[in-house]
């Protein structure tokens, strides 16, 4: 515990890191809810996944345990799948409607 970096990470850095995680997740969810294009919604999901990844990495460092790192690697793969599928679907929607604004997709409103 003589290393100042270890002292910081296990001490005051915990509050700092968890605040960063909460703020990143809040910014991501605000972007997802209130930006009105599909592209920004997709990028906001990526930002929220990154916030969750940071929490996994931080707690794996805190407990000296590798499970969080493996789980964050799984989240990488899930994010890659999600972006590939999401972009394919958005391209199809753009070809059909000519816009990616969410307000234009009103056919299922009833």
């Amino acid at each position: 515990m003589s290393n100042p970096l270890t002292d910081f990470i296990l001490g005051a850095g915990g509050f700092f890191t968890l605040s960063i995680i909460i703020l990143l997740f809040a910014i991501g969810s605000i972007t997802f809810i209130f930006r009105r294009t599909l592209l920004h919604m997709l990028m906001a999901v990526e930002l929220m996944l990154n916030a969750v990844n940071l929490s996994l990495i931080y707690f794996s460092r805190l407990h000296q345990n590798h499970d969080g790192q493996i789980l964050s690697l799984m989240i990488f793969v899930v994010a890659a799948c999600e972006v590939a599928l999401g972009i394919a679907i958005i391209v199809q929607l753009f070809k059909r409607t000519g816009t990616i604004s969410v307000d234009a997709y009103t056919t299922e409103r009833g």
Binding site: G11, F34, I57, R61, Q69
Partner: protein
């Protein structure tokens, strides 16, 4: 102050700033650049937290592959600027402060939960017995050993998911190709 601690704080601030650029920038390429800055800053935070292999994967997969895919997508579509003239929905100025207040409330609850003591997390870390010394933690050797022995099933399972995603993307693209052929 130690250089690593200073860089950790700078990376955290840059990550938040990149997220704010994503939220407020009008043009999508600026939002993508903000997201990219956020991801690179998070890779630096991972490296300081001794997750070296995850930091490399963050740079290769997120900042490399996924962001290139998104930027290529922005370039491909050539979207009219009318989609971006009204970036926020009408309820933004009501809903966003509520969510921001909720985030501040969470941070306040976190602060009261650790009782204002900065060393509360080190008490938490002493619960788990460290398996190896701090220097060995997070290297690529022990990471890959864990990935291919203890978590082999998860590894194979997630590769199946990747394969299913490839098949799904091909079928979506082919659906469009068949539809165009029929027209």
């Amino acid at each position: 102050m130690d250089f690593n601690i200073l860089m950790y704080i700078v990376f955290g601030v840059v990550a938040i700033a990149g997220g704010l650029v994503l939220l407020f920038a009008k043009h999508p390429i600026r939002g993508a650049m903000g997201l990219l800055a956020s991801m690179v800053a998070l890779a630096g935070m991972y490296a300081i937290l001794q997750a070296h292999s995850i930091a490399i994967f963050q740079l290769i997969i997120y900042a490399g592959a996924i962001m290139v895919l998104i930027i290529y997508f922005i370039m491909l579509l050539d979207i009219k600027s009318e989609d971006y003239l009204k970036p926020f929905s009408k309820l933004f100025w009501i809903g966003a402060p509520i969510l921001a207040l909720l985030a501040i409330f969470f941070i306040y609850k976190l602060y009261t939960a650790i009782g204002g003591k900065p060393n509360a997390f080190s008490d938490l870390s002493s619960v788990a017995a460290p398996e190896q010394s701090v220097q060995d933690f997070g290297g690529i050797k022990i990471f890959s050993k864990n990935l291919l022995t203890k978590y082999l099933f998860a590894f194979e399972y997630v590769s199946t998911l990747l394969f299913a995603a490839i098949v799904a993307v091909i079928s979506i693209v082919q659906l469009d190709w068949k539809g165009r052929k029929n027209e």
